[in-house]
């Protein structure tokens, strides 16, 4: 997708200006409106149910960003991203529950923020570990190694060993008051919502920034042709591993954030289906675009919600529908992917780009 369309009379005297965000007043206005909507309007009008839907969207965005980075920007197809989210979630949980925090830190509400950071780093390192095969293998073979990450991490290590820590058996539960950021205890949906917003904004901004640095360009070069990239002097292995690290890092943040919304942490939240789901999100949203990760997340979560709302009234007459909702959900997911692959192979982000172009090129078609 091409560079931003700029109106006549917009020119740049330096590369910094050339790569600045929000170059025109129109875009600035649009972004300010967007921020007002998500920070003020939505919290003001949405009830708890819709806030939780928003939180679900935010969580999906955070998860999909890492997948987008690996698949969309670096060309490393991954089917094990849920593992790194899980690592983030478990690291954060264990740190909060088991680490002997000094009392003053607990009082100041530092335990959870610090645990998020550590969780992100641990997940990043864990991701690099499973990214190592990417130095040697590509394509289908790499997909299999990333799937191995899923099964080794979640189904083996987390289920068999980590879950046994403290002798709780299957799940960890976080008592109220343990999730605390500074003076605020994160207890209800609106608090989770704001935390989600801050994290999403930070992560999206970080990703967008990364993409205009040498690192981001190197990733794109590797995606487009790894041999050419190497010829141009890019250390392919290093940058691939860096991509795995950053993807794992953001995944870790996603996981550590999500525990604030969960009463009990168990491996059931991080099944292989979540990994697949995230790949579906970016396919539908648009591969190789940050907009894609966001649009895909919104679309997928909303489709499921609407499906649920549609089924509710029917459930009285067909009680079986309610019981089988999980299957319906998966069928809908499959159907959506098929439909998009056929009718909109470039995803929602491409459609968005086309709509913008329609008006940018007005009154012409090219």
């Amino acid at each position: 997708m091409s560079a931003t369309w700029l109106p006549c009379g917009t020119y740049h005297e330096s590369y910094a200006q050339d790569h600045a965000w929000w170059q025109t007043t129109f875009i600035k206005g649009k972004m300010i409106l967007l921020f007002i909507t998500v920070f003020i309007v939505i919290p003001a009008v949405a009830d708890d149910y819709w806030l939780s839907v928003c939180n679900q969207i935010g969580y999906t965005i955070l998860g999909a960003l890492g997948v987008q980075l690996l698949i969309g920007y670096c060309g490393q197809i991954t089917l094990g991203h849920a593992a790194f989210i899980a690592v983030g979630a478990y690291t954060s949980t264990l740190l909060i529950l088991e680490f002997p925090w000094p009392q003053f830190m607990l009082n100041m509400g530092l335990a959870y923020p610090i645990s998020i950071l550590i969780a992100a780093v641990v997940a990043g390192i864990w991701s690099v570990l499973f990214g190592l095969p990417s130095a040697k293998v590509k394509g289908f073979y790499l997909i299999l190694t990333t799937m191995a990450a899923q099964f080794i991490t979640v189904d083996f290590i987390l289920t068999q060993y980590v879950s046994q820590i403290g002798g709780r058996g299957q799940a960890f539960s976080l008592p109220p008051g343990t999730i605390k950021i500074g003076p605020w205890s994160i207890e209800n949906d609106i608090q989770v919502y704001f935390m989600m917003l801050v994290l999403v904004v930070l992560c999206v901004a970080a990703m967008a920034n990364l993409m205009r640095t040498r690192v981001g360009r190197a990733w794109v070069a590797i995606r487009d042709n790894d041999i050419s990239a190497e010829v141009m002097g890019i250390n392919v292995v290093l940058y691939k591993l860096l991509a795995f690290f950053v993807a794992g890092f953001i995944g870790g943040i996603a996981g550590a954030f999500w525990i604030s919304n969960l009463a009990a942490i168990s491996t059931e939240h991080f099944t292989w289906f979540l990994s697949l789901w995230l790949v579906g999100v970016i396919l539908i949203g648009g591969v190789g675009s940050l907009h894609g990760a966001i649009f895909g997340s919104i679309f997928m979560v909303m489709v499921m919600e609407i499906l649920q709302l549609a089924i509710m009234p029917l459930a009285d007459t067909f009680p079986k529908l309610l019981m089988d909702f999980l299957f319906i959900k998966e069928a809908a997911f499959g159907l959506a992917i098929c439909a998009f692959m056929i009718f909109e192979p470039n995803g929602l982000a491409y459609r968005w780009w086309q709509i913008k172009n329609y008006f940018n090129l007005w009154p012409f078609s090219y």
């Binding site: 006549c8 009379g9 020119y11 740049h12 007005w362 009154p363 012409f364 078609s365 090219y366």
Partner: protein, 646 residues
């Protein structure tokens, strides 16, 4: 007296003593390192050059030239694309007391040799390898040529001739001299008066060898002053310099006006990216020959044809409104409120976007001159809300002498004389001019000077008249005016520009002087007609083949019928043929400013002309054409002759 306004504060009094270097020094010191004098697009960004940097560069180049032995009055030639170095070289030449000569970038060797030799050039500034090669191939025939200075190192590694010098080294020499004699530059600047020769300008000449017009500092400065009196510019304005510096219009905007006002001059990345770069900058003033506007019109027409239904409808609506309002304005009639409202709708829905696409969003004044512009093109731009004005001028008045005023625009005239300029029509109908900007004479050509300058009046060789509103109407070059069979004089250029309004027609050449009827030789636009043919599934492999297709003839006939519609009976085109090639300045068919060299083509295509005026259906062509790289190819084909009946 001019009314007191903001521009009055920066208004520069032009005295007998003022020269371009003096003005340059004054402005550079006033704006200093804070203000951007010029920008050049390089590797995707507009690299700014402040007035301070401008001054430093000019200073060092000028001193370098002095070190090389430049004497007052020596000629320095410049050839190359529009870029800051070109302007620096010119300014440095003037500062060092030399006389600047500009050559067209695409001049053939023969033309370069003629001008270099005729002007007694001592130093030549070339851009890079291409220009250096040109210069080296003629240096033996031009004994006065001393040094060739280049600045683009690409491909220059293996050139070690003594006559070559890089701009870098020249600047180094200048810096050295500056160290030794720190006040030399100021001394150089302060000598000389406005009456001294500043530029030696070769006119493109539709008929003969180029003539060198001598222009003084005063000529140039008064020219800029008087134009700015009509349409004031601001020092915050942007201007894009992309037309050859060897064209007087570009000199007028970049030097005469640019220096006085201090607006920023922007140079495109490459000549090929000029259009795109203009759009980025969004200039406030524009001066371009009609072909530029014709290109824009064609682009809009073609894109309109290709756009979707809804978009086309919006476009058609805005065109209708635009034309209606523009016509009311031309007639100086009041515009009713509901038409104003519709115009506003047209503006926000289409016109604003359209201007944005063309890079005309910020244009306050757009000028066209140098050749005739058809009324259709002219109305087209006004219908879009662009303040396009005709100007009339020539190299010999250092630019222009007549221009349209805001709100007083008639598309068949070129406007009223600018302040300080008197225009008269002689008994033979020739336009003569008197103003402080009238040139000093032709270089080494006293006969031509005596013919052009009589009692201080410049004889233009153009025919015209002044209409009831005091507007000048320019007919055409005296020898180009037709006499139709009904005995009326008629301008072929007018017909040609009408024909060219069709997007499918690139060039046309109308014949009919003292003949029974009018005929035309048409050059189709290869890309537009090619696309049209693709859609119609017409096969073709070359321009030549495409131009001779039956369907293409039908298409061209349709375009001619359109143009014929509101022409007097005697002026209607009755027969035409499609030429097998495009008219090209490299074949001497057009001048470098793309004016048709009528006498030349008439001779060259004698067969076609004869066929058009005899009762045949085809004309056989057997000729060789020469490509730019020197290859030759033989053309052996039949051209169809098509009659147009009512």
């Amino acid at each position: 007296m001019q009314p007191e306004d903001k521009t009055a504060a920066t208004r520069i009094e032009i005295t007998e003593d003022l020269t371009i270097p003096k003005l340059f020094y004054m402005q550079a010191r006033r704006y200093g390192p804070q203000r951007v004098a010029m920008r050049e697009k390089q590797y995707g960004i507009w690299r700014p050059i402040t007035w301070q940097q401008y001054l430093d560069n000019v200073k060092h180049i000028a001193l370098g030239l002095i070190k090389l032995g430049l004497k007052k009055g020596d000629k320095v030639s410049m050839i190359g694309d529009n870029r800051p170095e070109g302007l620096w070289a010119e300014m440095a030449t003037l500062c060092a007391g030399g006389i600047g000569v500009w050559l067209f970038q695409d001049c053939l060797i023969e033309e370069v040799r003629y001008i270099i030799d005729h002007s007694d050039t001592r130093f030549l500034f070339g851009e890079g390898q291409e220009e250096v090669d040109k210069a080296l191939s003629i240096i033996d025939e031009c004994p006065k040529l001393d040094k060739i200075i280049w600045d683009d190192p690409k491909g220059m590694r293996n050139y070690h001739q003594d006559c070559l010098l890089s701009l870098k080294n020249l600047v180094e020499m200048g810096k050295q001299l500056d160290k030794d004699q720190p006040d030399l530059f100021e001394k150089l600047i302060n000598r000389g008066t406005g009456k001294d020769v500043a530029l030696l300008f070769y006119t493109s000449g539709t008929t003969s060898l180029p003539k060198g017009a001598l222009l003084s500092h005063n000529n140039m400065l008064t020219m800029g002053r008087h134009l700015m009196d009509v349409d004031p510019c601001k020092d915050t304005d942007d201007y894009v310099s992309y037309l050859p510096f060897a064209w007087i219009g570009e000199q007028m905007m970049s030097i005469s006006c640019g220096l006085q006002i201090g607006y920023t001059i922007n140079f495109p990345e490459e000549p090929e990216t000029a259009r795109e770069n203009i759009r980025e900058i969004g200039p406030h003033v524009m001066f371009a020959p009609p072909r530029m506007y014709e290109q824009m019109t064609r682009e809009v027409q073609v894109k309109y044809l290709d756009s979707s239904w809804t978009k086309r409808k919006f476009y058609e609506f805005s065109q209708k409104v635009g034309y209606h309002v523009a016509d009311l304005k031309f007639d100086k009639k009041p515009i009713p409120w509901y038409w104003r409202f519709l115009e506003w709708i047209a503006y926000i829905t289409v016109q604003r976007k359209l201007k944005d696409h063309l890079g005309l969003s910020r244009v306050r004044n757009a000028y066209t001159g140098g050749a005739a512009m058809g009324p259709d093109h002219f109305r087209f731009f006004h219908a879009m809300g662009v303040n396009l004005k005709q100007i009339y001028g020539q190299t010999e008045v250092a630019g222009i002498s007549v221009v349209h005023r805001n709100g007083d625009i008639k598309f068949d005239t070129v406007g009223k004389p600018i302040p300080g300029t008197e225009i008269r029509i002689t008994e033979e109908g020739e336009i003569i001019t008197r103003s402080p900007s009238v040139f000093l004479g032709y270089y080494k050509n006293p006969e031509a000077t005596a013919k052009a300058l009589r009692d201080g009046w410049l004889h233009s060789d153009d025919k015209g008249f002044v209409d009831d509103d005091g507007h000048l109407v320019v007919f055409d070059r005296t020898k180009d005016v037709f006499t139709l069979r009904d005995g009326k004089p008629f301008s072929p250029q007018y017909l040609e520009t009408r024909l060219k309004f069709s997007p499918y027609i690139k060039d046309s050449w109308v014949i009919g002087h003292n003949r029974d009827y009018i005929t035309a030789v048409m050059c189709i636009d290869y890309s537009v007609v090619g696309k049209w043919a693709d859609e119609k599934k017409i096969n073709y492999t070359s321009y030549q083949e495409l131009s001779q297709h039956e369907e293409v003839y039908d298409l061209v006939e349709e375009q001619i019928r359109q143009a014929n519609k509101d022409l007097p009976e005697a002026a209607k085109v009755r027969k035409f043929t499609n030429l097998y090639k495009e008219l090209d300045p490299d074949d001497d068919e057009l001048t470098r400013t793309r004016k048709l060299r009528r006498a030349f083509v008439e001779k060259r295509y004698q067969d076609i002309v004869d066929a058009l005026y005899s009762d045949v259906n085809t004309v056989h062509i057997d000729t060789t054409i020469k490509y730019e790289d020197g290859r030759e190819s033989r053309i052996n084909t039949d051209l169809q002759i098509r009659k147009i009946t009512d």
